[in-house]
């Protein structure tokens, strides 16, 4: 009984389907068709026979990665950086949105908003360059400041204990404002009557935030959190790679940078695809787990 209904809806709503067709094509061509390359993770890459011609190796490349000497380090570093980014980076735009929402003067609010989201447009390369200049222990502003308060030579970019904080905090600085836009949009949908009612009931500013603003944000927060779980292991390659040096390598070598070194620099395409696929699978599991949990707990979910 179902299928005729499907066709019926296709016929009935054909204008809608035509409108969505370009989007479907784009996703098919750029996201689904390239997936046939995944098989490279299961077979030897043989240049003469193309992507699909090499000999099947089964899970050999996955085993090679899991047995490899750097496996535990890579997993730990990738997890730590992702976890720190989520724990610190996720609430930051929410808090910022709540604060911006409290600003009453319209012009002031616009000015603040523009100021905090401008850094989002700085390219990663420039940003890391800025970090290098500012944090240099010899010539940088921060370096001089730390020397003047008696902390001595501390190179924040060259230490295993400061790499993650520098990475995460600079990321928050750069993207917090931009990411707060979606929360501000959610807040603007709150019915003004709710605020008035709260005021009449004698709610303080803090209580308005707690009982009006935050409940209004919860669905958005949950959806965005589930989405961010899907990228728990895909930490930004460029920024980490640019910030890497011999002194922070023990904490800064992550799956993405390792895939680059193995695949592009040492030409081991099959092993690199296997590592990449492994990474994606873990993201996939996290995404589904979080989605299922939130469906149970709060009835909000992606699918």
């Amino acid at each position: 009984m179902r299928s005729p209904k499907g066709i019926q809806s296709l016929v009935r709503d054909y204008q809608l389907w035509i409108m969505i067709l370009p989007a479907i094509l784009v996703i098919l061509v750029f996201n689904y068709i390239p997936m046939y390359g995944i098989q490279l993770a299961f077979r030897d890459f043989d240049f003469t026979k193309g992507l699909t011609g090499g000999e099947w190796r089964g899970l050999a490349y996955f085993e090679q990665f899991i047995d490899s000497y750097l496996f535990t380090d890579l997993m730990r570093n990738t997890f730590l950086i992702s976890l720190a980014s989520i724990v610190l980076g996720f609430p930051a735009p929410i808090i910022l949105a709540l604060i911006l929402n409290q600003i009453r003067k319209k012009r002031m609010k616009k000015l603040m908003q523009t100021t905090v989201y401008l850094p989002h447009f700085i390219s990663v390369i420039v940003l890391v360059g800025m970090l290098n200049v500012l944090l240099s222990s010899e010539t940088g502003v921060v370096g001089h400041f730390m020397k003047s308060i008696g902390l001595g030579h501390i190179n924040l970019l060259a230490s295993t204990s400061t790499f993650i904080p520098v990475y995460v905090l600079s990321d928050i600085w750069q993207h917090c404002g931009w990411n707060s836009i979606i929360y501000l949009a959610a807040l603007s949908a709150v019915d003004p009557q709710l605020y008035d009612a709260a005021k009449i009931d004698g709610a303080s500013r803090w209580q308005t935030i707690r009982y009006v603003d935050i409940p209004a944000l919860v669905p958005t927060i949950i959806i965005l959190f589930i989405l961010s779980m899907g990228s728990i292991l895909s930490t930004g390659f460029e920024k980490i790679f640019l910030m890497q040096n011999a002194l922070n390598l023990p904490v800064s070598e992550v799956i993405a940078t390792y895939v680059y070194k193995i695949g592009i620099i040492s030409n081991q395409f099959s092993l690199a695809s296997a590592i990449g696929l492994f990474n994606t699978l873990i993201n996939f599991v996290f995404l589904f787990a979080m989605n299922a949990i939130s469906k149970r707990v709060s009835n909000t979910s992606l699918f």
Binding site: F47, T48, S68, Y69, L70, N132, S136, S137, E138, H153, N155, L157, A158, N245, A246, L247, L249, P250, E253, K261, I262, G263, I264, I265, S266, N267, Q268, F269, L271
Partner: protein, 538 residues
Amino acid sequence: MRKRVNVYISLFLVMAMLLAGCSGSGSGTDDSAEPPGNTSDKKVKLTAIMTKHALTKPLAEMEWLQKVEEAAGVEIEWQEITADWGQKKGTMLASGDIPDLFIGPNVITDADFAQFQGLFQDLSGMLDQAPNVQKMFNEKPDTKLIATQPDGKIYGLPKYQRFWPASASRQFINQKWLDELGLEMPTTWDELYEVLVAFKEKDANGNGDPNDEIPMDWPGGIGGYFNPAVMLGSMGITLTDGSPQGYFVEDGKVKNYLTDERYKTMVAFLHKLYQAGLINPEVFTHDYTKYQSVARGEGDTAKVGFTWGWVASDRFGQQLASQYASMPPLKATADYAGELSWSYDYYSLNYGTNHIVMSAKSKQKEAAMRFINELYAPEVGMQVLFGSIGPNIKDNGDGTYSVLPPADDKMDPGTWKWTSTMADNGAFYIPDSLELTLGTDMQEVLGQSEPLAEALEVDPEKDVFPGMFIKYSTMDNNTMSLNNTNVMNLAESSFAKWVTKGGIESEWDAYVKESEKAGLNQNLEIMQKYYDEYMSKN
């Protein structure tokens, strides 16, 4: 309403015409349909990639190159690459869409030949079309050895230039600072320590600021040229080509210094220097450009006391070069009685692997071979290396030549050479019989190499790893490069940590075990096997 629709339609038509015009002119310049082989009076068009130095001017501006192209009857469309060739190469080769020729130092590696079989032209059957290349093979049989794969095929041609010294790295100390502070040139590590402490504490450059001197500096990391790894020579280790991944040969055995007790001693010494504030605190985070600019100081004020480089004028700039003296290797301790050594780089400096490679898909193989033959002519060779006759080289008229000083007198001769021509990155052969007087920079290099001469009297048979002559199988190559990625990951971070924070004594044993687990032993076994095989053939 009607009118508006008409406007839209005509706008659309105009746009369509414009688009058609664009694509029309695009196909108009497409001349790939030209029949191949017709070379009598028409120039053959070739495409080529050259990986050149960032300083090097556009290839189209090199006079000698235009003459070579003319003599070969070809016109080359160059693609010039100055950075990230390693990354671009992989994707380009995997796509199979490659130019007719590649030029550059090891531009396509033996590993690439093995992996991308059928993509590159085997030149061994075409050598009769290139008498100049044959001449090189006959006069310098080593070049043929370097070029030939285990199955007898030749995909990449080497270069040979004879003029270069036996080592790429020389050791420099600021003689002026020594004189001003009344110090002797150090001969042992302990004396070096004392000297560096004096440099740091006594305002050695005399500008009134006692804190701007950097007693010791290097480009960063461990291994490669201009690196403290050469100090292993103080305990008798002969590095090969700077040993970027630690491999060296001692008494016929392939070893790796990264797990050698002598390396432990050296790292401990470097930590002692670092702790005393004698090493640039940014040594592990700065890049080569910054290292270079720091070493060049400000005006007459030198900043760096002790470091390594190719030649003083390149490292410290023309203005400061005279302050520095080239030093012989130091002894590890005053009572060390063993031999001193250094980094032996003669082969990699004077020979080069795979400097020119041809595509197997090229439709113009004969023309490409004509171009290669012209490139390997003796008089062309010296121009590839030093620049065109005229602005860069003087033809003395009696069959001898001399390299001219830079036309731009603010530039040092080394920089001038790299600016004017392909230099060491080109493909060429300079026969030993060519009479060429070198420029001041090369004479300077040779002069500054003299303190190292004794240490470099090594037995190239037994103490130098013949890296260039050994061809690994694809399997072994893949295994080794994977292992090296892992080994170096550990080695680099450990080295940086031990130098800056110490702790090598307590962590050494665990580190050695980790390195072995990361694949070091497997690599040593593979390399030993190939080394023995190579030695038994000679």
